[in-house]
């Protein structure tokens, strides 16, 4: 949930207001699309919702917890336990195999005890990549990489998943597969999934569409 958040990059003449008084409420079990022209502040909004940027004004509440009052390390803990991230550029660890990428995410959360490997295998199977576990990112297709990334975002079972342009680097077929997968995550696992996208192919999958322009929310509509 965002409350009247504003963010300005730079200062003086160079100052660019990226978000102006944005207030939004999000609920679990929903796939929310954030759309809008380039430079409208979508990524900035996602960074703030993802507790990576602190807003200049306003506050973000994650499951009732005010982010403004948290220390840097408490925000790190919040990110680790409550939020999974999916990026346009995948951001897998290039020297690790698909399976190891997932084990690493468990390790970061302090859960790389015995059974971690089995858990990672299970997560890979859930995105349909059981047979590719020993391949490194360089050996996977874009769609496969994004599926590994989604498996990673989910492996610590966070209630929230944030995705920035998850389909922008993919062809039509893989993109649609990813979109369907994200919707399933919202519907079947009851998670809140927020997806920033330019991609009109994503529109049919969104249960709610937030349109932004120039740092402001200009439209916020439930659909279907």
């Amino acid at each position: 949930m965002a409350e009247e958040i504003s963010i300005t990059y730079g200062s003086g003449h160079a100052a660019t207001p990226a978000l102006r008084d944005v207030s939004l409420n999000f609920f679990p079990g929903r796939l929310v699309l954030v759309m809008g022209p380039s430079g409208s502040g979508k990524t900035t909004l996602l960074s703030v919702l993802g507790c990576m940027l602190l807003p200049d004004q306003g506050d973000v509440h994650v499951r009732g917890q005010s982010v403004r009052g948290l220390s840097e390390s408490q925000r790190v803990d919040l990110r680790r336990h409550s939020i999974g991230y999916v990026f346009q550029a995948f951001r897998l660890f290039r020297s690790l195999t698909a399976l190891e990428n997932l084990v690493l995410a468990l390790d970061v959360a302090g859960r790389a005890k015995d059974g971690a490997k089995a858990k990672a295998e299970q997560a890979l199977a859930a995105v349909g990549l059981s047979d590719k576990w020993r391949l490194k990112p360089g050996e996977l297709s874009g769609g496969e990489k994004q599926r590994v990334a989604i498996a990673r975002a989910l492996i610590n079972d966070p209630p929230i998943v944030l995705a920035d342009e998850p389909t922008a680097s993919l062809d039509w077929r893989s993109g649609e597969g990813i979109a369907a997968m994200l919707l399933r995550i919202a519907k079947e696992h009851g998670k809140l999934v927020v997806v920033v996208t330019h991609d009109p192919r994503m529109t049919p999958f969104g249960q709610r569409i937030v349109k932004m322009e120039d740092g402001r929310v200009v439209e916020d509509a439930e659909q279907g």
Binding site: G50, F93, L104, A105
Partner: protein
């Protein structure tokens, strides 16, 4: 922590360069350390092997090798001091050694009386170490070639007087270029042709039940013109002279320090380059909630992995070389703790080298992960 390993493995050439750098540093530090330890031990060896409690030396004498004679009557005075059990005379000085080739070689001739110490080299006639063979000398194995001694016994001349090498000994190789030649006290006096007083050191054994410090003070009172030292004091004094005053210790330490610095720079460079190359991955780690300690651990593991492998390689490179090195530098000495100590220093160096990288990795802005 296989992320660290895999990161290193990703650029094998750089990993190799890092390891060579560390191996070089550790090699140099162990080698220089062995030189220093060997040098320290060698510079006081002749003092340490005596059984003496006290040493009487000329005022201001700083080492075993460079000393001035004492008046003969001091012997009688020392013998008469309360608490003194026995006093042994020792003389030494530089003399010319006639090589079979006709060349003459300067040597340090040392003559001591039986009783100086069972480990102190004196050419005895018998195993009981009671009587000294006349015109007999001992030389160290590492100096035998320099002195033209191939087999024993070997005849030679010292200061134009006959002498015979009866035995080749170990552990008394010269560390300053001039070979040591050991003989009995009486022969040494003849070879050295001192014009008057011949005694250079008086070596004192204290009666059981007497405090050596007490006897030392008594001797000092009776002989105000000389210095009286306990054996350990004189040993330390000799080491300090050779290591500090001659600058030799400083030179050895400087090279060891250079090895450390070269290693530090190489490791820092490479760990830093690896970190910079993986900066995006560190940002991702931060974004997905890795704690500071986790990121520090990744960088540190990288550095320490290089350190452990590199130290091991350095040590492996040094061990087979120790034997040939010992043949040229007989007094070099590598105590068992030295490699461990230097490997520890090497690992410390790696930790130090990763400080800049850790700072960089921790400072990375997690929000950049959303930029494509």
């Amino acid at each position: 922590m296989w992320l660290a390993w895999r990161n290193l493995n990703h650029d094998r050439f750089r990993f190799l360069v890092t390891i060579v750098g560390i191996a070089f540093a550790v090699f140099l530090m162990i080698f220089q350390g062995s030189l220093l330890v060997g040098f320290l031990r060698a510079s006081s060896k002749s003092i340490d092997v005596t059984d003496a409690d006290l040493w009487i030396a000329g005022r201001g004498v700083e080492s075993f090798e460079f000393a001035a004679p004492l008046p003969e009557r001091f012997y009688d005075i020392a013998v008469g001091v309360e608490g003194v059990e026995a006093v042994y005379r020792m003389t030494l000085g530089f003399a010319f050694w006639q090589k079979p080739s006709g060349m003459r070689q300067s040597v340090l001739l040392i003559g001591a009386e039986p009783g100086t110490g069972s480990q102190f080299p004196i050419p005895y006639v018998d195993a009981g170490q009671t009587s000294v063979a006349s015109e007999a000398v001992l030389v160290d194995r590492s100096n035998a070639r320099t002195l033209g001694v191939d087999v024993v016994p070997a005849g030679t001349e010292i200061s134009a007087r006959r002498a015979q090498v009866v035995e080749v000994i170990d552990g008394f190789g010269t560390f300053f270029g001039t070979p040591y030649v050991f003989t009995g006290y009486a022969d040494a006096v003849r070879y050295l042709r001192w014009p008057g007083d011949a005694i250079v050191f008086l070596i004192v054994r204290v009666q059981p039940g007497h405090d050596p410090q007490e006897v030392k003070r008594a001797l000092q009172r009776k002989l105000p013109e000389v210095d009286v030292w306990t054996r350990d004091e004189f040993s330390r004094r000799a080491r300090a002279f050779w290591v500090r005053k001659t600058g030799a210790g400083g030179a050895i330490l400087l090279v060891a320090l250079l090895g450390f610095l070269v290693g530090l720079v190489i490791v820092s460079q490479n760990i830093y380059a690896t970190t910079m190359e993986n900066l995006e991955e560190f940002a991702t780690l931060k974004a997905i909630g890795a704690r500071r300690w986790y990121i520090q651990k990744v960088v540190l593991t990288q550095a320490l992995a290089c350190g452990i492998v590199g130290s091991f390689v350095g040590l492996l490179a040094l061990l087979p070389l120790m034997e040939p090195i010992r043949n040229t530098i007989s007094w070099i000495d590598m105590p068992w703790w030295l490699p461990f100590g230097m490997i520890f220093v090497g690992l410390l160096m790696c930790v130090l080298a990763s400080v800049a990288s850790i700072k960089k990795a921790l400072a990375v802005e997690p929000a950049r992960v959303f930029r494509a």
